[in-house]
């Protein structure tokens, strides 16, 4: 993606969600508002590259959306009257994007629809851009969005910020969508799709917007910190020819130290709210790596401890494996290869069954066995890892990349 495209994406993203929220308020109809705004965004992306971005892109977008609305909604007199009265500048109103985000990520919608709807409605992506980012057909995305909007209207999914009682769970849904988007963008970035919109940018922007809208929610701050920490290392993740560089081998001089320090402050702000959660802990773990001057200077015991806390809140076999890897690098007697292997072999049978299909598990065992002078066992574990990786187990491979880079 070149600079001009990135700037275009930035401008649209900055205004699209806010204007959609404004139109929902005026029309009282989520689906209709979303439609006319999408038209305005598509028009902008067609015309701005040639004509230049207007001085007031938000006024431009709203004018086009309004005209479009008067045109397509002309048979619906109520809407027409409401739109006719809409003039720029619209009266200042509180930022309604939070309502928009919660409606798009409503648990009664399927996950893929939540993702597509959030990208289109809140970030101002076009259906074509979403399809390109996820390598699916445009008609598939269009259908998901149409169905989701129909359900919002027909089942009356509300357009509002959830009550305090509902908030923790609903916020969790929103965070999941943003994290999923980020992973998708992070894992595919640097690949051979230079023109695809960078979903990692969109996810970072969404996380930042959310953190601004709910500044007292520590997990929202935690997710933003996590995303920023990963982004801070982006420049060192690939060689010039596009192959991946493992964390251990990355040139730490190319990490964005200022972004890392800012993320550290976000983690502290979140911690001061005294409600720890999985995103805050994952951010703290990545911060340990990011703040270490080198691989060997990493505070591995601290990382293992953070994994203990993470596992207490959100048990997961992959996190158990990562805890073991941290222990392997920690100094004896609490760390070291022997301790790590013992921990690995003491994992509950259910976890071991899950990890058995996960190449990093076998690669880790192989490394530990070799370090402990058991080359034959190590070779067997290596083969198992290789077999799994050679299989079309793309998903596992992708996860592996996230864990190790």
């Amino acid at each position: 993606m070149d600079d001009a495209q990135r700037e275009l994406a930035r401008v649209v993203r900055e205004h699209a969600g806010r204007l959609t929220a404004c139109l929902v308020r005026v029309l009282g109809d989520f689906a209709a508002a979303e439609d006319v705004m999408q038209d305005a965004v598509e028009t902008a992306l067609r015309r701005w590259p040639a004509e230049g971005v207007p001085d007031h892109p938000d006024a431009w977008l709203l004018t086009v959306a309004r005209r479009r609305g008067l045109d397509v909604l002309r048979r619906r007199a109520v809407y027409r009257d409401k739109l006719a009265r809409l003039a720029w500048p619209v009266p200042a109103e509180p930022d309604d994007r939070l309502k928009l985000i919660f409606t798009c990520c409503h648990p009664a919608l399927p996950r893929q629809a939540q993702v597509a709807l959030t990208l289109r409605t809140v970030c101002g992506l076009t259906t074509a851009q979403i399809a390109a980012a996820f390598l699916v057909k445009e008609s598939t995305v269009a259908q998901r969005i149409t169905r989701a909007k129909r359900k919002i209207t027909d089942a009356r999914i509300p357009y509002r910020v959830p009550s305090d009682a509902e908030l923790p769970e609903r916020l969790g849904q929103v965070l999941t969508v943003i994290y999923l988007l980020f992973n998708e963008g992070y894992l595919t970035s640097g690949g051979d799709r230079p023109h695809a919109r960078d979903l990692a940018d969109d996810a970072e922007w969404l996380a930042a917007t959310l953190a601004r809208l709910v500044p007292r929610e520590p997990e929202a701050l935690g997710l933003l910190a996590l995303v920023r920490l990963h982004q801070a290392r982006a420049a060192a993740r690939f060689t010039p020819d596009g192959s991946l560089v493992l964390l251990r081998d990355q040139d730490r001089g190319r990490w964005d130290r200022r972004a890392i320090a800012e993320a550290g402050r976000l983690i502290e702000r979140a911690a001061a709210l005294r409600r720890p959660g999985p995103y805050q802990l994952q951010a703290a773990i990545v911060a340990c790596h990011a703040e270490a001057p080198g691989w060997d200077d990493t505070d591995w015991l601290q990382i293992a401890l953070l994994y203990d806390m993470l596992l207490a809140l959100a048990p997961s076999p992959v996190h158990r494996l990562q805890r073991v890897i941290a222990l392997r690098h920690a100094p004896p007697p609490r760390g070291g290869a022997a301790v790590a292997l013992a921990e690995l072999d003491a994992l509950p049978p259910g976890d071991r069954r899950t990890l058995d299909g996960y190449p990093p598990y076998h690669a880790t065992r192989a490394e530990l066995l070799r370090a402990l002078g058991r080359p034959a066992d190590a070779a067997a574990a290596d083969r198992r890892a290789l077999d799994l990786t050679a299989n079309p187990a793309q998903q596992a491979l992708l996860e592996q990349r996230l864990v190790w880079t």
Binding site: H106, D154, P158, P162, A165
Partner: protein, 112 residues
């Protein structure tokens, strides 16, 4: 807006209920009674259905109506009752359904 909550029983739920002693079963029924009392202001109509072995299904799609024994889908999950509620939106319907103390599946459908 009106929604119907369809209460869906699973085989396992039915078995568990079966194996309860009298006291536990009474406690389970009492919990359901309390739920109906608690949400009485929102419930416009409700019914418990007789067990699925009493069901008869009629298919009108062919040339001749076809009568068969049993519920319309043969499966491990069967509708065992329903309640119609009048609430503002899906979130309120979800909040009501969430506190349902009996069978483990509830489908929520808006009513025209």
């Amino acid at each position: 807006m009106k929604y119907v909550l369809l209460f869906v029983e699973t085989e396992r739920f039915a078995r568990d209920l079966e194996s309860m002693d009298e006291e536990a079963r009474q406690a389970a029924y009492d919990a359901v009674g309390r739920w109906f009392a608690e949400h009485a202001a929102k419930i416009t109509h409700s019914a418990h259905l007789r067990p699925s072995h009493t069901a008869t299904t009629l298919r009108l799609e062919g040339d001749e109506p076809l009568v068969t024994d049993g519920p319309f889908v043969e499966g491990k999950e069967v509708v065992s009752g329903y309640a119609e509620i009048e609430v503002a939106d899906l979130d309120e319907a979800l909040a009501v359904a969430r506190s349902w103390p009996a069978c483990p599946v509830v489908e929520i459908r808006p009513v025209d």
